[in-house]
Amino acid sequence: MEKIKIMLVDDEERFLSTTKKLLIKKGYETLTATSGAEALETLKQKNIHVVILDVKMPGMDGIETLKEIKRQFPLVEVIMLTGHATVESAIDGLKSGATDYLMKPTGIEELLEKVEEAFEKRLRLEEKIRLAQTRKFMKSPREILRES
């Protein structure tokens, strides 16, 4: 099975470093970014499965970053992490394509549970896409050729 690649996006350096250490200890490949822009840059270079995104950040905020990620990398699963329990911000996030949301302070176990769920969702989605492409290929191999 493929190893889950997680990216943490938050403006709190200490949160990033400690959480990264924890995730690595738990056996996950982990990257960090301190801003939305940095996160998008990293996504371009690395294949990341799940992004954990803080809602409130200076500069480009969580929701904006989420929308950009979903636009550029639709297959990446995003879990919103919020210090604010407003249903509105959670709904905003979910509407913009977030897989789930978590409220600070959250435990590492809880976090990983959501990550696993998100990753499974992504796997299912990839499976479906593969299946669809196979069908398309079976129907008209010529089109596949044209695409490639």
Binding site: E12, R14, L22, G83, H84, T86, V87, E88, P105, T106
Partner: protein, 561 residues
């Protein structure tokens, strides 16, 4: 609420309300009284004048008739017939048939010698040639005397008429019964004290006066009547005894006699007095009525203003409370958010330490010494306290957030018991008896069931806590009542017999973060949240409590339309 200084306003309103109707009231009454008394006085005086006039005519016609009688005799019989006493006697008897007023009758020749006389006295042969009355009658043809004593020494007056025959001049004279004349003059009857009498030019009584005044005496008031005048004179004056009279006077018999009719003023103006009493009574009653109404209305106005003030104050307080709640909510939410970030870091750090410790132990690099156990205990404590902080910030965020409510029509008689059931177990464990008295005829309410449930559960839990605090695990009572207070409002009351709330705390009970529960047990947000929820429903939440007796929370929510 501070008492408002309505004293001055009250005085102003009262003054206006008394004066404004009072001035026209008094004016109308005064003008009415003046006109009424004036016309009544006029009527009384003119009545008096008419009586005097009638009386004068009567007296004058009596005198004219008597002198007419004598003239008739003069014209009917020659001197030679009448000079014989027996003839005169016959004539006198006929005369007496006409009028009983004649006392005697006498015939005089031109020298004034009494040639014949019929009457109670012996006057034949006396000469009256030099008497003033005889000279007067010779001159004028007739004469009516004042009352005088004469030879007889009794008061009387005479009527004499002269006749000029071709050969001689002669005179017939009759004495008038003063008693009869007296009765005639006195016969006036007006009210209780009305009386009439005659005076001569010197003010001597020619007839008796009923209220005192004998014949031939001088009237003590004679100076008041003034000199002779035309027509009838009326005036009001005091007599010598100080009694006030209404007088009406007129001169008769060529202005030698004065007819006086008088009546005590109080008697004459009796109806005036009655009218005055009535008017005084109306004034007093009307005035009292005006004052009473003024006091009543002023009281009502002031009470109403005070009530409106109280309502305004209450509304103001509610607004302040609501805006303060919103402010605090916002601030608290921001605050909680900021706290959550460091909490997250602490939590992760703790997890890391915990993990590393476990690894170290696993690898055998760390022996299970007392220090390590203490370290582990301390770490657990950090974990616990972080969780506690998290609970608080979650509560604050819940309070601060503008959660959307989904209202629906709710049947309280079904809904409330369902919510109550949720705490039934907890209550029975602590020996609390639950009484529910919910009117079955409640209007539906249009609210979010989740929110109402939250409010009710909060109140139930508070009540149970208060009961446990006071009673321990026996003797608690929790009662839930619901009824319609009007068509538009439903009231739910949650009453416990718990420890109650101290009066100084009662004001702060809905303030966020206010709690009397021990540290770590309450956030002080429960009732603040409830208050906010009910206020948003368009309802009202109030509390009534007495220490060591119990507490009642009342929720008033509008019925569904």
């Amino acid at each position: 609420m501070k008492p408002k200084p309505y004293g001055a306003l009250k005085k102003t309103i009262l003054t206006c309300m008394i004066l404004v109707p009072f001035i026209p009231f008094i004016l109308v009454l005064g003008i009415g009284y003046y006109n009424f008394t004036a016309s009544l006085e006029g009527a009384t005086i003119s009545t008096m004048k008419r009586i005097v006039e009638d009386h004068r005519q009567m007296i004058e016609s009596f005198l004219n008739e008597r002198s007419g009688d004598l003239k008739y005799i003069l014209d009917s019989y020659p001197f030679d017939v009448l000079r014989h006493t027996e003839n005169l006697q016959r004539v006198f008897e006929n005369l007496r048939k006409v009028s009983q007023a004649f006392v005697d009758l006498g015939i005089f020749n031109a020298d004034g010698l009494h040639v014949a006389y019929v009457g109670p006295f012996q006057l034949t042969g006396r000469s009256y040639g030099q008497s003033p009355w005889f000279q007067e009658v010779i001159k004028k043809g007739y004469y009516i005397s004042d009352v005088f004593l004469g030879y007889r020494q009794i008061p009387h007056f005479i009527i004499a008429v002269a006749k000029e025959d071709s050969d001689q001049r002669w005179v017939i004279r009759a004495t008038i019964d003063t008693h009869r004349f007296n009765e005639l003059v006195k016969s006036v009857r007006i009210g209780k004290t009305g009386e009439a009498y005659l005076l001569d030019a010197d003010g001597t009584f020619q007839t008796e006066r009923r209220s005192g005044g004998t014949l031939m005496q001088k009237d003590a008031e004679r100076y008041r009547y003034g000199t002779s005048h035309e027509g009838i004179k009326t005036f009001i004056d005091n007599d010598v005894q100080g009694q006030t009279y209404l007088y009406a006077t007129t001169w008769l018999k060529d202005k030698s006699w004065l007819l006086v009719v008088r009546q005590e003023k109080s008697d004459a103006f009796k109806s005036l007095q009655n009218a005055t009493y009535v008017i005084v009574m109306i004034s007093v009653l009307g005035g009292a009525g005006i004052v009473a109404v003024a006091f009543f209305l002023t009281g009502r106005i002031i009470r109403r203003m005070e009530r409106m003030d109280a309502e305004k104050d209450q509304l103001g307080q509610q607004l302040i409370r609501a805006s303060r709640l919103a402010e605090i909510g916002e601030m608290a939410a921001g605050f909680a958010h900021e706290i959550n970030n460091p909490l997250q870091i602490i939590k992760n750090e703790y997890t890391l330490i915990d993990m590393i410790l476990a690894e170290l132990k696993e690898k055998g690099q760390l022996r299970e010494t007392e220090d390590v156990t203490e370290l582990q205990d301390s770490l657990d404590q950090i974990h616990k306290q972080v969780e506690r902080c998290a609970t608080i910030t979650q509560a604050i965020l819940k309070f601060g957030r503008k959660s959307e409510s989904v209202p629906q029509d709710l049947d309280l008689p079904a809904f409330i018991p369902e919510v109550t059931e949720m705490v039934a177990k907890k209550a029975s464990v602590h020996g609390i008896a639950i009484k529910q008295n919910i009117s079955q005829r409640l209007n539906l309410v249009h609210v979010d069931p989740g929110q109402l449930q939250q409010v009710l559960l909060n109140l139930y839990n508070n009540a149970i806590d208060a009961i446990i605090e006071r009673h321990g695990s026996a003797g608690g009572e929790l009662s839930i009542e619901a009824d319609a207070i009007s068509n538009a409002h439903v009231e739910i009351r949650v009453t416990d017999n718990g420890s109650g709330i101290r009066s100084e705390n009662l004001k702060k009970i809905f303030t966020p973060f206010f709690t009397t529960k021990p540290v770590g047990k309450g956030t002080g947000l429960g009732l603040a949240v409830c208050y906010g929820i009910i206020a948003k429903m368009g309802g009202e939440m109030t509390v009534d409590s007495q220490e060591n007796v119990g507490t009642t929370f009342s929720i008033r929510i509008p019925a569904a339309v």
